[in-house]
Subunit: 103 residues, 2 copies
DNA sequence: CTCATTTATCGTATATTTACGATATACGAT
DNA sequence: ATCGTATATCGTAAATATACGATAAATGAG
């Protein structure tokens, strides 16, 4: 409904999209876990979280959509890890923007 | 980690809620504007944005909900400004969390 | 007091998000 | 080839978000 005909500054759209990706506690928890463990198969995350397998898969998809994580196929499993380069880049943009405006 | 129904670590809930508050380009633009101008009456923001008065008011309410901005009544007008202390605090928490996990 | 101005809130339509179970797919093992 | 395991995707229900116009409330001006 929104930005197809309302157009906002690209930088703001990008920042908002990143914020949306991390606007759910489960997704923050997933990111934290992936940092702690370096890498997780989907099933480990499902076991850890109070959500169904399909829901966890959906959250992983959202994190993948914005590039914060990447998944690689490992036999019948999917192994997820942080896309460190992309992640650092996004966090940096974010902190630069907000820390600069609050000096 | 959290076994009860849909309850997540409080820190994650708080971070996610902040992220949700800034997960719309208009709300980021409002924050930026309030920083640049120090203070804005509601009408200035409405004039600046491609949205109706009621919609802008709704976005302001969301930013107020998480404490990033505060509004004071000025005659028949509402003057909005960043709640600098709260803002710095939230940004700091956010950057600490994410920068620490990405080292 | 009445009128115009400003803004918050209400009602509502539509889109998106979140959750689940069911199913499809892909792979390894037998 | 068949079976079991792991995961992505589909279909869908319920909740939330986003947008608008209409209206209410508050104030200042005349």
């Amino acid at each position: 409904m929104q930005s197809s005909f309302h157009s906002f500054d690209n930088e703001y759209v990008e920042l908002a999209d990143f914020a949306k990706a991390i606007s759910h506690p489960v997704r923050i928890q997933i990111l934290k876990t992936l940092f702690d463990k370096k890498c997780c198969i989907c099933g480990e995350l499902v076991d850890m979280l109070p959500l169904s397998q399909s829901t966890v898969s959906q959250h992983l998809k959202e994190l993948k959509r914005v590039g914060l994580i990447k998944g690689t196929i490992d036999g019948p499993r999917s192994c997820y890890c942080i896309d460190e380069k992309k992640f650092a880049n996004v966090i940096n943009k974010f902190c630069t923007f907000f820390c600069s405006i609050c000096k």
